[in-house]
Symmetry: C2
Subunit: 244 residues, 2 copies
DNA sequence: ATTGGACAAACTGCATGCACTAATCGACAA
DNA sequence: TTGTCGATTAGTGCATGCAGTTTGTCCAAT
């Protein structure tokens, strides 16, 4: 089963890259895109579970699969290594990083702490405009809950959290939060498919927003921490059944 | 003036790489070291101020300077980009990242928040052994203060903070802390040369340790936050005069 | 049967070359 | 004089080739 899906996904990715190459070869190459696409494709292979932790990512095979040379493959692997999805050792093949349940838990914990800090600082520091925008976005997303638009809500969700990070007015903190968030993405992907999760997510957001609008730092902090913790348990359930 | 120092440093780095290459060419190549050395060398160029923010890092010049081909240079730049020291855009030269005073402040703030979280969790979670080791190390470092051993104390200081990160028993949190710490290293380098800083650092550590041994999370958190904040102001003073 | 070593195949690390992009400079026109 | 439009040069992105290393396999010796 794994092999089949792997091949299927591989061919899909190859097609994407290939068509992109053909289409843009004489148009808007805007190069660098090749590597970027490869990063996404390989990341998807890992995220979707087509490649298992510990599996070798040898450069030649990947180069053949994606119909590019080894150079961009190497660069892509470098970036994936930096982002933590794969591991590299000198003179050895890159391998898909093992994410133990324990490590996953620690990532969610770090995420919760980061969001808590961001929420607190947001409550203290957001400008009037930022508060208004946060509130507006949040209110606007209510209808997505009732119409069960998981994908749209997901987009809104990202926007919401990004506003939280920016609102702390601490560039580096936002960077750490975004980075951790990206690294958790694979394990959080399907959380909104849990029945009722959408509505509860909205309610949790509501508590955070209310606290921030009141400039109540501690309350915002606690609400954000709780929110992420719930996402954590909701997601690890999926991680268990989905990837293992 | 810039050009002179740049050339001087360049030749030094080139020599390092060159001699390394010659020495290891037939011995213990342990490859991957080439790129790693380049990363350090270029990072040093940036950290020491030999290259100014916004300055171009063109691959060919670097390849010539270090007497290697462009391939490892590109990989080194990739890694430096991932670590945040340089920025890259498609089809443009990599440039030294601008670290504004504001961004620097945000990094220190993030560091303070991270350490605060780690200290709190350490107070709550450290095993008996970890507490004992932390205390022992801290107590042992007292004599370094009186004998004014800045370098040794610096080494101890790193060990102390690393124990704090590990003590939180959250792998990813420790990773974030270490990463941020590494990124701040250039700006914190000379803090212990401020008269009396050593003794005060020890006292601040003492407050943290005491709180952790008492399993008093909030106190540990506050103490760690305060400690980093003080380091921040002590260091930015140097950043102002040293790098600008 | 098991273990040790040697050989072979596969793969990584780096160098070099080519195609395409971007930027700078000069020329021409307004 | 200035603004705009080519052309040339410098530099990036990717492909390919070679050297060195690792790993897997096979044979021999214990």
């Amino acid at each position: 089963m794994v092999d089949i899906s792997e091949q299927a996904i591989t061919s899909v990715c190859t097609m994407q890259i290939r068509s992109a190459k053909l289409a843009r070869k004489k148009e808007i190459i805007r190069s660098g895109t090749t590597v970027e696409q490869m990063v996404r494709s390989i990341a998807d292979l890992i995220i979707t579970g087509a490649m298992h932790p510990g599996e070798r990512l040898d450069e030649i095979s990947l180069a053949n699969r994606f119909e590019v040379s080894r150079t961009p493959v190497r660069e892509a692997l470098s970036q994936l290594c930096a982002s933590g999805l794969v591991c590299r050792q000198p003179n050895k093949s890159a391998i898909v990083t093992n994410v133990t349940q324990k490590h996953l838990a620690s990532m969610f914990e770090a995420m919760a702490e980061l969001e808590a800090v961001c929420a607190r600082l947001s409550a203290e520091r957001m400008t009037v405009d930022e508060r208004r925008m946060l509130d507006a976005e949040h209110t606007a997303s209510a209808r997505l809950v009732y119409s069960r638009c998981e994908d749209e809500y997901e987009a809104h969700n990202i926007e919401f959290h990004t506003r939280l990070y920016r609102g702390a007015h601490s560039e580096h903190l936002a960077e750490l939060a975004n980075q951790t968030r990206a690294r958790l993405a694979p394990f959080r992907r399907a959380q909104f498919r849990i029945p009722g999760r959408l509505a509860r997510s909205y309610q949790e957001h509501d508590v955070v927003v209310t606290a921030i609008l009141r400039a109540d730092g501690p309350a915002a902090s606690l609400a954000a921490y709780t929110h992420v913790s719930i996402v954590s348990t909701a997601s690890t359930v999926f991680a268990d059944t989905g990837t293992d």
